[in-house]
């Protein structure tokens, strides 16, 4: 576990405060998408397949900050699209850091070195670059449908680390992933010196074109067992150890779709980051007006049946940590022992 203590404390106190207030549906991570435009065209990504006038749109910083204040989550993840293409990314991050939000800027890192050299970002414990890395060079370049991106990302990581920034990686594993190569990839990321890694199975966006290539739950459990059953001590993950146990099939969780609400140029996305079933104009409307009973495994919704993606289940894992002594004990044991 590599999450800094101050961040852990912020999340813990936030979750406990929500529970103390009796709030049943509360957000943990705001997924803030200021734009859909990207400098890659990954086949697995449904986010970029829009007409030109939609790809040219982006939120204003003020719209972003209103969403952040409205939502209140202690962590803000900025995916996209490619957030480094957002014209005001520097100002947005500065404003979020000033609000003491823990920011994960999710980037393919193609523009990272250029932005760092331009002085767009100042190192802060509140800011982490979360670099999209789907494996070693061959696997990553194949996943992003472009050769050379892995090397650019590595260069960006080195530049960011050299300047004193927090750097993590986020990895989506697709069907056919080779467990041994994934383990070698983890070693490579640790050798680079990243703070921690995030890993999740892929999911078929309902509008994504390659649904048949994404992992199904059972195969995903098997894959993650083979990857994580004997983890190396040096591996550090920037996510809940209980979530990793869930990926391995050791825990059975229900989705918490409101845990990672998504805001973008269309509004507040119903019901989650992955499914696009409509949009609400306010966060409260999202919470109050979404028919949550239609989602999650228990609902029988086939779109949710095999989903194990972190944006739905990491919040569940965090809630388990803070909802019982057993959950807290299991988290501490897994963290201290380094075993998922």
């Amino acid at each position: 576990m590599s999450v800094p203590l101050s961040q852990m404390w912020t999340v813990a106190s936030y979750v406990l405060a929500q529970r103390f207030r009796g709030r049943r549906k509360y957000p943990l991570v705001l997924m803030l998408e200021p734009l859909f435009r990207c400098n890659l065209a990954c086949a697995g990504c449904g986010k970029i397949q829009y007409p030109g006038q939609i790809l040219r749109k982006h939120l204003t910083v003020e719209q972003c900050l209103r969403a952040v204040d409205e939502c209140g989550a202690p962590i803000v993840s900025i995916p996209g699209g490619e957030p480094l293409m957002y014209p005001e990314i520097g100002r947005l991050v500065t404003e979020l850091v000033a609000r003491k939000k823990y920011v994960y800027l999710c980037t393919n890192a193609i523009l990272l070195k250029e932005k760092l050299e331009a002085g767009v970002f100042t190192p802060s414990k509140y800011l982490s670059f979360s670099i999209h890395m789907d494996g070693l060079r061959e696997e990553h370049d194949e996943a992003v449908c472009k050769d050379g991106v892995f090397d650019q990302a590595v260069e960006g990581i080195r530049e960011a680390l050299g300047r004193g920034h927090r750097v993590t990686t986020n990895t989506t594993l697709f069907e056919g992933a080779d467990p041994e190569r994934v383990r070698r990839f983890f070693d490579a990321m640790m050798d680079l010196g990243v703070e921690g890694m995030m890993v999740s199975p892929g999911y078929s966006y309902s509008k994504a074109p390659d649904q048949e290539h994404f992992l199904r739950k059972q195969r995903a459990n098997e894959l993650f067992r083979r990857i994580l059953s004997s983890p190396k001590r040096r591996w550090r993950f920037n996510q809940s150890p209980l979530f990793l146990q869930f990926l391995m099939g050791k825990r059975d969780y229900e989705c918490t779709p409101w845990g990672n609400p998504t805001f973008n140029v269309f509004g507040w996305q119903r019901p989650c980051y992955l499914l696009q079933e409509g949009y609400a104009r306010t966060f409260q409307e999202l919470i109050d007006g979404t028919r949550w009973e239609r989602y999650g495994k228990r609902s029988g919704n086939e779109k949710c049946r095999d989903c194990m993606v972190h944006c739905g289940f990491e919040a569940t894992a965090v809630q388990e940590t803070f909802s019982s002594w057993r959950g807290l004990r299991d988290t501490v044991v897994a963290t201290v022992s380094g075993r998922a």
């Binding site: 086949a43 007409p51 006038q53």
Partner: protein, 115 residues
Amino acid sequence: MEGEKTLEGWTPEPDAELPLAHIVDLAFDYRGNTTVVKRDGTELHGYVFNRDADVEAPYLEMFDTDGGGPYRVPYAEVRTIHFTGKDTAAGKSYAAWIARKQAEKAGRQAGHAPP
């Protein structure tokens, strides 16, 4: 990729078997611009990004082709929707990418194969 279905160019007319609400749902799922044909004969061109059929007065929301909006249009004002814009999701599958990579690899190997 060849064989992938797209609604691009489809100009449906609602009837008993194809209700307007279903056409709106298809337009909402469609990754291209559409033409919303209103009952008064006017047309709106743009991207349908939202709809809610569960409220008292069902509506759709769209941005026009210049990015203006969002505009909210009640179902009651809509006669039909035509799928006039390019389907931006068509032909961009992961399978197509893999097939292309494999073809490139095979081509390279063939080019370097000993006679």
